[in-house]
Amino acid sequence: MSDPGIPCEPCSVGPPGDPEGEPILRLEGVETVLEGKKVLDHIDLDVPRNRITAIIGLSGAGKSVLLRHMIGLMKPDRGRVLLDGADLMKYSRKELFEVRKRFGMLFQSGALFDSLDVFENVAFPLREKTNLDETGIRERVRVILRKVGLEGSEEKFPDELSGGMVRRVALARAMVMDPEIILLDEPTTGLDPIIRNSILNLICRTYQDHKFTMVMISHDIPDIFHWCHHVVVVHGGKVIEAGSPEAVRNSTNPFVRQLVEGDIHGPVQLM
């Protein structure tokens, strides 16, 4: 990779080790119906603190909807979403806005503000939520844009970017505040393999420095197993398997087996 800003050496997130206290996020019996369809069906799920969790599953399984519940963007019809043991739904709107300062989120679509250029998109949370002066903001944004390999694209507008660039800007925006919990909806989909690996490397390195909690939705199976501590498999709105990458890889559940091996024969038949 020619850009010196992107780390290329392999990085390891390390073994999960013992859990650090209580899970930071816990979903209990979460059920959500959207337009008459049960999209989440009694989800019980723990997100371990200061670890990287990967959510995998087929398209339409309910992964994105699940992620939206974790930050209180969607409310479950039944069940609870607990952040440090406190029910997110019990918070007032104002308290919820306060709580969300602990989060950074990357949407599947990128969700960049199309009236702002790349620089301003990344600087946006800093401007709105910190007291940093202009020099401080410039420095922070410059550093993070270099890390995602987008130095020199500061003045481009979102409609001038490729899909992969949009995703990297959105990733930079999600991480620029050094949040405690980072939710990423498919951060590596649509990237070429070199950029993809550098992004995973970047995530890994930032993790080693900051030890945040991350939940990452991914379709990069089985690669993603190297980049996370905990894997959750979602299918048809249910969690059908959760555990260490090893445990999931060796699962006997036929659906998990099929997903991990990418087999066209198995419980899921498309054709």
């Binding site: 969300r100 300062k101 989120m105 599947q108 679509s109 969700a111 199309d114 709105e128 939520k129």
Partner: protein, 257 residues
């Protein structure tokens, strides 16, 4: 069968009530955020530029021709009764009481209201509004409140401009074209237009501006289902705002008279 019908009706009624409640909550939240500091000064100025300044040309154009046609029609009607001297008063009263506020509101709806809905609607379907939420920023405060303030400032001012330009349009036709005495045109105007007429016109324009910005931002804010949803939201925002302006005009006129 009867149960089915009752259930269906009940469902519809519930849905309608819920929607009505949502519009009310939206309005109160927008107004609260518009009134309570801190204000987003730069955004408000930007929106005043968009809603107000950029509508200026259309407003001046419509106002001039409205005044001119009023004068033309009024002249020939008044002449039948031999009272064409009253032309200035007729033109001014029609504009200040009715046509100014109503036509300004309709023009602003078409020019700025539709764009407001589309802009916010695109932000909704592009998950940009959700994105604001996740950053702990209240999208109503960030997006909607500045537009409320801007509309409340711009529309009454545009209405005032409409009235003045319309009166001069009427003057052009009545005096320069049809040869009425200028002293008569303005003299009758001064003696028949009262302060209460002007104040009622201002009230109307304030009410209309609130109506337009409420409907248009609401429709954008709750857009669903992609690009088609945005186009549907935009169309219905324009139709609903325009109809509400005309209905509201009747109601306000009957109350204020």
């Amino acid at each position: 069968m009867l149960f089915r019908v009752a259930e269906w009706l009940g469902g519809k009624a519930l849905g309608a009530t819920r929607r009505l409640g949502r519009t009310g909550v939206f309005l109160s939240s927008a107004v609260r955020n518009a009134v309570v500091p801190p204000y987003r000064g730069r955004e408000i100025v930007k929106q005043i530029h968009f809603i107000g300044v950029k509508s200026l040309f259309v407003i001046v154009l419509t106002a001039a021709f409205t005044g001119m046609v009023l004068s033309l029609q009024g002249y020939y009607t008044l002449r039948k009764f031999g009272s064409e001297g009253l032309l200035g008063a007729v033109v001014a009263l029609s504009l200040i009481r009715e046509l100014g506020p109503v036509l300004t509101a309709l023009m602003v709806t078409g020019r700025a209201g539709s764009a407001l809905t589309a802009e916010i609607g695109i932000m909704r379907i592009g998950e940009q509004i959700d994105s604001l939420e996740t950053m702990g920023i209240d999208p109503v405060r960030f997006l909607v409140a500045p537009r409320f303030v801007a509309a409340l400032v711009s529309v009454p001012l545009l209405t005032a401009i409409f009235d003045v330009v319309g009166i001069y349009g009427g003057y052009l036709v009545g005096v320069k074209l049809l040869g009425l005495d200028p002293g008569q045109y303005f003299g009758h105007m001064r003696s028949s237009v009262e302060l209460v007429d002007v104040i009622n016109g201002v009230w109307k324009s304030i009410a209309f501006s609130l109506l337009i910005v409420w409907v248009c931002t609401f429709k954008g804010f709750f857009t669903e289902r992609g690009a088609e949803g945005v186009s549907r939201a935009t169309t219905s925002a324009v139709v609903i705002s325009s109809v509400l302006v005309l209905v509201g005009d009747y109601v306000l006129t009957s109350v204020l008279l």
